[in-house]
């Protein structure tokens, strides 16, 4: 499938990236080539195959007892500060 400049723009928006106008065409071409390469997967019939998201090895139950463990966090965690300056989160758009 060909990826158009409009697709690039749309996906960039989803990914919170900005793409300059002069980069759109090159990106659309590069991504099209990669996606066309990926489409060889369509030659395989995988309708009855289960997906593998993770090759599970011998993983211990990831939930531990609710006990206080050695802390590894930032030493800044308890720092006293009065104010944080943050970007504007409410806009009219």
């Amino acid at each position: 499938m060909k990826i158009s400049e409009a697709d690039v723009e749309y996906v960039a928006k989803l990914a919170m990236l900005q793409v300059a106008d002069d980069e759109k065409r090159e990106l659309a071409e590069q991504l099209s080539r990669i996606v066309e390469y990926v489409e060889q997967l369509n030659k395989l019939d995988v309708s009855r195959i289960e997906p593998t998201a993770q090759v599970v090895t011998s993983v211990k139950h990831a939930i531990r007892d609710d006990r206080v463990a050695a802390r590894t966090g930032s030493s800044d965690a308890g720092r006293t500060v009065k104010l944080f300056k943050v970007p504007k989160v409410i806009t009219d758009r």
């Binding site: 919170m16 900005q18 991504l31 060889q40 995988v46 593998t52 090759v55 590894t72 030493s75 970007p87």
Partner: protein, 481 residues
């Protein structure tokens, strides 16, 4: 002192015979870096004050006859996507500018407990995305065997440092071959353990279901020693494997007669350099001579591995890299504009081209309407690739392939065409998709003197056998075939 011809065991024995002090070795390592690393550029950050302080303490311990660890006083280099408290971690990216982690990765912590001394942090492709270390936001690392060529990637700095003698051992990370390819290109040993073997705590995530920390060294024995130290369960990593760590070093010299080695025909077709092919064939003959049972096998879905990998890896990356938004880490652009604009501008100016390309590709593969066609399909193909290996390991113990179809390529040769760079990962990515352990060992050089790598893969948690088979290859002269 150049460390090119000194192994970790040799160094440890020199210390115990009072041949050198740790302080002398660490000091001269930095002098050597000063002398040669301006051409190779393996390091992003050096930490001499800290290393010399640790060296001094180690010398005191040794002088007072205190028990020291198996890597006592050994200079190590750490890939700069592995966190060390109070030393900046860049991941080769502008977006992490100024980020200093408040904690240390488990693998580094364990190396330190074994006495190793961290010399510095090494260059990499930005967020480990690349096969040549050309995607670093800072500079290109050069191959010590030919400065016009790449060291391989993404752990190119770590491999180039070990190969040029500016560290004895190094840690890298391997998501699709990022330890094994640079090992092959730089003529050193590189191991990617079974998924979950080494804690990923402190390793900056690229593709979480594929990432694994690995080792680089000049000999198999040194990697075995390092792995004994860094492998094992860690409650800070929820995917850490709770599996006993064998005595890798002790087992190295056990005979390998009768070990069944499979050679998959799919790894020898199209695009493989004839000189690489011929050296790998010599390696196979060497194993025959050692009494191994060589069998031709088939891993029929190999041709789909790159396609599946680049969907899965980019999809996971697009999600993992969402955290770099100018709020939590590193740089922030347009701090006074609205939030979404700030996110976009920060990410646009902080990420390099390849990283942005992969985020776009991964986001596309996960987006509504394409999820089933790309991402889910790739996960199903991953199942087929895993099954290929499961079936093969019913017949053989080890699988032998080239590490890379070519020797180190010229700087700039593949940067214009991302797909051609992806295709160079052909031989290494199946290992990550299937979660298997893999090792690259030197297997002679081509007519221009450039190193060639031979790859061995084993079933899950069979590192001990894999290291033994690799060690016997080294002992039989395989490294200089």
């Amino acid at each position: 002192m150049n460390l090119k011809n000194i192994t970790a065991e040799k160094l440890v024995s020199l210390y115990s015979n009072r041949g050198f002090t740790v302080t002398e070795v660490v000091t001269s390592t930095y002098q050597e870096i000063e002398r040669i690393d301006k051409d190779i550029r393996a390091f992003i950050t050096l930490c001499p004050l800290r290393a010399l302080e640790e060296a001094r303490r180690m010398d005191e311990q040794m002088a007072s006859g205190e028990q020291v660890g198996p890597l006592a006083g050994v200079p190590v280099a750490i890939k700069d996507n592995i966190a060390i408290r109070d030393i900046q971690t860049t991941c080769g990216s502008r977006i992490l500018e100024g980020y200093v982690p408040p904690y240390t990765a488990t693998a580094v912590e364990r190396l330190r407990r074994a006495g190793a001394i961290v010399i510095g942090k090494t260059n990499l492709d930005e967020f480990a995305m690349g096969s040549s270390t050309e995607n670093s936001a800072f500079f290109v690392t050069r191959n010590p065997h030919d400065l016009d060529r790449v060291p391989g990637g993404s752990s190119g700095g770590s491999a180039a440092s070990v190969a040029s003698g500016t560290s004895v051992l190094a840690l890298g990370s391997d998501t699709g071959g990022s330890v094994r390819t640079p090992a092959s290109f730089c003529g050193v040993v590189g191991v990617k353990p079974t998924y979950g073997r080494v804690s990923r705590y402190g390793l900056v995530a690229f593709a979480s279901s594929l990432d694994q920390i690995g080792t680089l060294s000049k000999s198999v024995r040194e990697s075995a020693q390092m792995l004994e130290v860094i492998c094992g369960f860690d409650h800070f990593d929820s995917t850490s494997a709770d599996h006993a760590v064998d005595e890798f070093v002790k087992n190295l010299d056990r005979p390998i007669k009768g070990v069944r080695i499979g050679v998959p025909k799919e790894y020898f077709i199209g695009g493989i350099d004839p000189e690489v092919k011929s050296k790998i064939e010599s390696g196979i003959h060497l194993y025959e001579g050692l009494g191994c049972d060589i069998q031709e096998i088939s891993l029929p879905h190999t041709e789909y591995a790159i396609a599946a990998y680049y969907v899965i890896a980019t999809a996971e990356a697009s999600s993992n890299l969402a955290r770099y938004d100018g709020v939590r880490y590193g740089i922030r652009k347009a701090g006074n504009s609205a939030l979404q604009e700030m996110y976009r501008e920060t990410r646009h100016s902080g990420f390099g081209k390849e990283v942005q390309r992969r985020i776009l590709l991964g986001t596309y593969a996960l987006s509504a309407g394409y999820y089933d066609a790309y991402y889910l399909k790739a996960l199903k193909v991953r199942t087929l690739i895993l099954r290929d290996f499961q079936q093969a390991f019913e017949r053989v113990d080890i699988i032998l392939t080239p590490t890379s179809p070519t020797v180190a390529f010229k700087i700039g040769e593949k940067t214009a065409d991302p797909l051609s760079m992806y295709l160079s990962d052909l031989c290494t990515i199946t290992c990550n998709l299937a979660g298997l352990p893999g090792i690259s060992v030197p297997c002679g050089r081509n007519s221009q003197g450039l190193p060639i790598g031979l790859q061995l893969m084993a079933n899950h948690f069979q590192e001990s056998l894999m290291l033994r088979v690799a060690h016997q290859f080294e002992k039989a002269g395989g490294f200089s075939l």
